[in-house]
Symmetry: C2
Subunit: 186 residues, 2 copies
DNA sequence: GCTTCGAACTTTAGAGTTGAAGTCTTCAGG
DNA sequence: CCTGAAGACTTCAACTCTAAAGTTCGAAGC
């Protein structure tokens, strides 16, 4: 069996601190405090998505499907949206939405039918089964989220929520949502 | 031209507050404070990724390529890593890494060569051009990040960084990185 | 030294996405 | 009416990722 090898191949996954130190070494103008916030935010979000993915998988749901269910639930009763609107909210192209709805309709999570009042439009509607799946996933997610924030007291939670919301408002104002397509994940 | 239509099709993109209100309506047990933190975090990260994507695009770089550049820079001089190691750090399968390296080598951002000391291994190395691209992207990113945090004073930045890092540590400890594959984006 | 096992990467087939072109429907004008 | 223009969705080809083989090389056993 080959040794663990020292041939410039492992070097162990860098911790957040090591990552920031490396950036500073290569780019002197970097503000370490800013980078700490940004990098922690990105890593945290990434790990959370992994966790959500595992949870929804236990329900036989992909993360992609969960996104659709969430959008429909947020839209409120009667839980109907058009493919185009869904695509915009999820940051996908309409083409991708078409196929995703195909799959979900086959699984019975949503129905797809033409709007008889305006036959150009299509209406995607959550089924009872889809709504139930969303609820199950939500139960799992809320347990995970509560556990994640466990070490933060009420004041800290409030403060964190406020600060993040302020930052969010800043980005949303700055970006007039010129289409709102997201490009990749981190 | 069809009217803006009232046929259950638009309903305007929901704000963060509206989204949380909708969740509460459908799932009584939800803690609105927890949800505020989680939802703001996710939306913020998403918008940031859109912004990063636009910036790197102006440099002729995809977000995917930028991820590779970052990993190589963080690894430090001589900026070498194997495909397998890169794949693990980016949360991709080795197969995907093979193709991504193909593309980037064609563009001259990295080189790929067999390790002559151990011919099973392959060494991916950052080129000078790749390093320069990273630097340009980093300059853009740091401006954006500084602007994003502009409204936060030093104490707030510090606190935010600390709290996020605490949360990150909690997730990383809880998930023994059972492979570290990430499943989807939000 | 030949064989076997394991490690690291690549190849292949299939799912899912994008961007561009195509279809169908509605509305406005002549 | 009949035609033209625009909107909403779908179809098609090219690309990227995953999962599962396949290939190549190195190390250990007999």
């Amino acid at each position: 069996m080959p040794e663990p090898s020292d041939a410039a191949a492992d070097a162990a996954e860098p911790s957040l601190e090591e990552q920031i130190a490396a950036y500073q070494r290569e780019f002197q103008d970097l503000d370490p405090q800013v980078e700490q916030v940004v990098s922690a935010l990105q890593r945290l979000n990434r790990r959370m998505n992994v966790a959500y993915g595992r949870q929804t998988a236990t329900l036989g749901l992909s993360n992609a499907e969960w996104e659709v269910l969430k959008a429909l639930v947020v839209s409120g009763a009667p839980y109907q949206l058009g493919p185009g609107e869904l695509a915009k909210r999820l940051g996908l192209t309409p083409a991708a939405m078409t196929h995703r709805i195909d799959r979900m309709a086959n699984e019975g999570l949503v129905t797809r039918e033409r709007d008889e009042a305006n036959r150009v439009r299509v209406i995607v509607e959550l089924t009872d089964e889809g709504r139930e799946k969303w609820l199950e996933a939500m139960r799992l997610a809320s347990v995970f989220e509560e556990d994640l924030l466990q070490d933060l007291n009420g004041a800290e939670r409030h403060l964190l929520g406020q600060v993040l919301t302020r930052l969010l408002r800043r980005v949303e104002d700055a970006q007039p949502d010129a289409d709102g397509r997201l490009s990749d994940l981190d």
